[in-house]
Amino acid sequence: MREEFRLRMALVAGGVGLFALLILARLFYIQNSAEAEAFRIQADVNEYQITYLYPPRGEIRDRQGHLLAGNELVYEVGVALEAVNDPKTLAAALSGALGLDYEQVYAHLLHPAPGEKYWMVRDFVSRDQVQTLRQMQEQLEASGKPLPSLRGLVFREHLMRSYPEKSLASNVLGFVNRENRGYFGIEEKYNDLLAGRPIAVKVPTNPLQAMETPRVPQGTSLILSLDRTLQAKMEALADQALQEYGAKRVVIVVMQPRSGEILAMATTLRMDLNQFWKYAEIYPKAVDFNPAISYAYEPGSVVKIFPMAAALEVGLVTPDTPFWDTGSILVGGRYLYNWNGAAWGRQDMVGCLQHSLNVCLAWVALQLGAPRFYEFMDRFGFGHPTGIDLAAEAAGRLKKPGDADWYPVDLGTNAFGQGIAVTPIQVLMAASAFANEGRMVIPHVVSAIERDGSRYTLPPQYAARTISPKTAHTLSAMLAAALEGEDSTAKVPGYRLAGKTGTAQIPTPLGYSEARTNASFIGWGPLDDPQFMIYVWLEEPSTSIWASETAAPLFARAAEQVILHLKIPPDAVRMAKEH
């Protein structure tokens, strides 16, 4: 009996042992089978999830802290196709809330592409639209009935660039497309800083392995030197002037000449930055987006102040130097004439600027000689970009002796702003030397940057000293005297300002047009302590071709607004002695 029991036990033990061996053999086979590698890869893939963390794009604020560019919450609406149990209701809800074609949505839900598990129905859907869909989904779920149902509907939130002030300062800000890339203005120039750096993180799917994901700091925020209120006022003035003078384009730029901070940069062609896709409809050419920095044109007589400053600097002339104007001057084999073709007789240098005499300035350029004239024009920055922190700045054109298209007559014409192409910002930078003790300041729009709770305020950047403080004061006084000496429409009662008009005929393939002009004005003040510098440009004004009748009064209105906004007391109050 005992022997029999032993045998039976041995058989059972042997059977169990064999079964265990078979299991082990099977395990060994599975581990080394052809499919094992695929399973191992699948396990590795599923062990972690690669998540890309995109930092929110940095904000842009004006100097008072008003938000000019921020980030708005939008949603990607999609469908997890395997979870859908009521395609009819889902198609009806999606087509109703998102304005899609019901038949197309229903067909896609019924017959998805082979292997398709997720269908991205629409991206950048607003919060309100998603709210409607969410409410419907929750109500149907709360009813407790299996049908109707919106199962499978998925919402993924993300941020989208938003501009709460819409078109205000659009030419300065630029815009961001759906791929988070900046175009034009601040958005393009500082794209890398604003966008931050996305990080790829391996997130374990096993909660036991949950680890701390790196914190992605928000992109750097920028504080601009722009003043929202002043910008709006200048834009309103530009729009008004466009209508009043029948111009094709108006540009007004307000700069602090001491620091180079741009307080306002208004153009008449603007766009609602939230609808960036309309860019091509609004702007015929890229230079039209911000002509204040991108559009180089012949400015005319505003340039006269620079050769005059050069002549004062080298001691060729003083404000009292006499000049007998015969109405014409021969330069490089060609006669050059005054704007009205008349001879103005005896003048001094103040008179030359006051009456904007081409002949006189051509004579000054001849006295300087081409090497010195072009050296000074080069030092004033003409032909070079100013370095303003906005994308798409043009360098303009200053032809020089040795260039294939330079002729000796250019020395004379360049002195009164013909044959030279400049941008408004270049003239402002060059003229900043007069309001800034002879030093040119580099114009800029960003005044501070913020990152991780720290702020760095950007100091003013100065270019080379082009003229001495004495020359700067002398020329400013000459321009102020010139302005006061005539019945100028650029004057602002109570304030002594310096300024110069510029009327330039527009070059065409057939020569200079008599009827089409660019009217410009550069001015600054108060003379004793310059706090603002304004450049005004009207392209092809139709009510009058003269800057004295268009750009000058527009400058006066702009200066009045700036004075009011900056709360600058009149000279009489400011300079009154204390008793």
């Binding site: 929110p56 938000l67 708005e72 919450l73 709460p164 949950a210 109050v573 009154a576």
Partner: protein, 153 residues
């Protein structure tokens, strides 16, 4: 003393059923210990898993709140945009200042400056984490010790 009781005692001690029971008790004790260890291990794993899930959901919530915060800032900016504020000011009876309306007072000793105010600070959110999330075990022990000694925690 009779030898019988001693023999019975010996027989009782050496009884096979008693030895088997002792072995069974030891076996159950071992099993119980293993069960206890398993239970503790499961509890710890469960706790860690729950915390892991909580961390993941809190992280998602933090991200969602950051997005919502950015969105609310835009909403606020849209409601206080210049055009809207100007319309509200006009509705309240204000009108844009006219150069003729301004008046200046001279105050002795006041230095005039027209430099626009420096860029304003935007409101900063101050995040404060309780010490449980920041202090080390050593910091905690030090704090407890100091508080027990009556010192500043």
């Amino acid at each position: 003393m009779s030898v019988y009781p001693l023999q019975w005692l010996h027989a009782y001690r050496e009884a096979p059923w008693r030895i088997r029971r002792q072995w069974l008790a030891v076996l159950f004790l071992g099993l119980l210990t293993l069960l206890l260890l398993g239970w503790f291990s499961l509890q710890a794993s469960l706790g860690a898993a729950l915390l892991g899930r909580e961390i993941q959901s809190l992280r998602a919530e933090a991200s969602r709140l950051e997005h919502l915060n950015a969105d609310l800032q835009v909403t606020l900016a849209a409601q206080t945009r210049l055009e809207v504020m100007q319309a509200r000011a006009l509705a309240l009876g204000f009108h844009p200042a006219d150069p003729q309306e301004r008046q200046y007072l001279r105050i002795p000793g006041y230095l005039f400056s027209v430099t626009p105010s420096p860029p304003a600070n935007k409101p900063q959110l101050v995040a404060s984490l309780p010490p449980e999330y920041t202090q080390s075990l050593w910091d905690w022990m030090q704090e407890r010790f100091l508080s027990l000694m009556g010192g500043a925690p």
